[in-house]
Symmetry: C2
Subunit: 142 residues, 2 copies
DNA sequence: TATTGTTATACTCTATAACTATA
DNA sequence: TATAGTTATAGAGTATAACAATA
């Protein structure tokens, strides 16, 4: 007595996909002098400036201690601003700079060029639905 | 001069999704007395028996040393068979047992029940396309 | 005393290398 | 000598805990 046929569970399908997309991104990011975490920070700060490092860490689901070396580097590269809040000098105000936005846009464009080639394995209909579903599920995150 | 609006890159969308689906699986697996790696091994051996542990490790993209404690545990639980090949006693023949298949099916069913509730956020059309695309992209793995 | 950011420590997971047994 | 499996060691990445500055 065997069970009915089952589809693979989502995590089992997502894991190799993430591994592959992340592996494809890495060399592109490296060409632009960015790490995965650095890129992640730039994307987040491009969406909106942040008033504390803790808030930024939470936004990208990282530990607050983990992003500190990343912020040090991005600041040294001139890609972010990070200055004490005059009203509360414990707090660091974080924002992306002009050149930070430029390098982030360049990297993002290059990454998506690769991904588009990859997504072309799908029919246009499935491709659109896939991206739409992905975005919906990601946004629905609690 | 800013770039045109861009969609998030795939890895950035896949990462939180994987994290969430994996986190949802964990307690279910625990209820069935399985670890993530143990479950992964059972799914692989359910698809097909393996002649060596190295082949199994490669099939689930794991290091051959990493799965040994997992195999020890599964064997002790009676979920897999693992006996030396009489023709080459260096080799271990691996197969899932009846009870191994039963626990794997039970866990998989429970996991998918949770995922279906989760996927119901999508329209039926998008849901089907999403799963189809996911499977296509996963299969296309080199 | 509570909070932000930082540094130092410990822990988990994984891979590398050394070892045993078979061939 | 080469290979499958195992064990022991070391490394990377991460989180936890202690610390300094400010409120």
């Amino acid at each position: 007595m065997t069970s009915p046929p089952q589809r693979p569970d989502l995590a089992a399908m997502l894991a190799p996909l993430l591994r592959e997309t992340a592996a494809a991104e890495l060399p592109v990011l490296e060409e632009h002098g960015l790490t995965m975490w650095g890129y992640s920070v730039l994307v987040a700060l491009d969406r909106s400036s942040m008033r504390t490092q803790a808030a930024l860490a939470e936004a990208i689901r990282a530990d607050k201690t983990r992003i500190i070396p990343t912020l040090d580097e991005l600041q040294a590269q001139g890609y972010i601003e990070r200055r004490p809040d005059p009203d509360d000098r414990r707090v660091r105000l974080l924002a992306i700079t002009e050149s930070g936005r430029a390098v982030k846009d360049a990297a993002q464009t290059a990454i998506q060029r690769g991904e588009d080639r990859w997504l072309s394995k799908l029919s246009p209909t499935d491709r659109d639905a896939f991206l739409r579903a992905l975005q919906q599920l990601t946004d629905a995150q609690p």
